[in-house]
C-alpha cells in the first residue's frame, strides 16, 4: 500500500508520539524518505512542540510568587 500526503498528515501526531502500528509507521517512513513537503511538515511540527513546551513561553507576573506564598501563609495561620 502506497500512501499519499494527505494520508500521511493524519499520522503525524501518532508518528511523533511513537504510537503507530508497525505497518503504518513503515508506510509513513517510506513516504517521508522521498517527500520534502511531508518531511517539512513533520519537522516543523516537532520543532513547534519543543518550543511551546519551553517554560520561557509563559513568564510569571512580577511578584506572583510573593503574593501566592503570602496567601498560603494566611491560610496556614488560619488553620493552625
Amino acid at each position: 500500500m502506497v500512501i499519499d500526503c494527505k494520508h500521511v498528515w493524519e499520522y503525524i501526531s501518532g508518528y511523533l508520539d511513537n504510537n503507530l502500528e508497525a505497518s503504518e509507521r513503515n508506510e509513513v517512513q517510506k513516504h517521508l524518505e522521498h517527500c520534502e513537503i511531508c518531511s517539512a511538515i513533520l519537522d516543523s511540527t516537532r520543532n513547534i512542540l519543543i518550543l511551546t513546551a519551553d517554560e520561557r513561553v509563559f513568564e510569571l507576573p512580577l511578584g506572583f510568587s510573593e503574593r501566592l506564598h503570602a496567601r498560603l501563609d494566611e491560610e496556614m495561620q488560619r488553620i493552625a
Binding site: 494527505k6 498528515w9 493524519e10 503525524i12 501526531s13 501518532g14 511523533l16 508520539d17 504510537n19 520534502e36 513537503i37 518531511s39 517539512a40 511538515i41 519537522d43 516543523s44 511540527t45 520543532n47 513547534i48 512542540l49 519543543i50 518550543l51 511551546t52 513546551a53 519551553d54 517554560e55 520561557r56 513561553v57 509563559f58 513568564e59 510569571l60 507576573p61 506572583f64 510568587s65 503574593r67 501566592l68 506564598h69 496567601r71 498560603l72 491560610e75 496556614m76 488553620i79 493552625a80
Partner: protein, 207 residues
Amino acid sequence: MVDNPQVVDEAQIISAIVRGETHLFHDLIRPHERSVYGMVFSLLQNEADAEDAAQEAFLKAFRNLSKFRAESKFSTWLISIALNEARSKLRQKKAMKIESLDAGSEEDGHVSPAILRDWREVPYEALERKEVRQMIQLALADLPGIYREIFLLRDVEELSVNESAEALGISVASVKVRLHRARMMLQKTLAPQLKQVNPKRRWFPWL
C-alpha cells in the same frame, strides 16, 4: 533506615505536611508555580484571572492534600486542580467561554497543515525574543478550547495520554484525535510565522 534530608522525596514531604508541618508546602509547590500559571493563563487569557485561578488552585491543593493518593504524580494532580479552577472561572464569566470551550466538535473533519518545502530548525534561543514568545501565546490562544486544553495537558505539562484522558474526563481515543488536530492547527498557524522569524537575525553568526 538512613534518614538523609537531601533525598527526602515528594511523597515524604507530602506526608510531613499532612502531619502538620504545613510550612513545607511552600517548598513542595515552588517547582510547579510556573506550569500552573502557564496552564491557567493559556485558558483564561488574562493575567489577573490567571493569578486568581492559580492561587485558588494552590490553596485547594493545600486544603485537600490529605486526599492526594501517591499512585498519581503530585504535578498531575495539581494540574488537574488548576484545570478545573480555570474552567469554573471561565464558566463564571460566561462571556469568554462556553463558546470557546465547546467550539469544534469531534466530527469536524481533518485539519490540513501549512505546506512548506523545507524547514529550518528554530532554535531554543529564539524564545529569548519577546515577539517569538508572543507568537506562540497567540497561536495557543487561538485554538478552540477543547484543543487548547488537550495540547496544554499533553504537550506542555507532559501528562500521559491516560492521565490527560482522566483529567478531561474523555476517552483515550478522543485525546488522540483532539491532540492531533491541536498540533496540526498550531503547525498551520505557527510554521509560516516562525519561518519568517528566522531570516531577521542570524542564529549562527559564524555562517
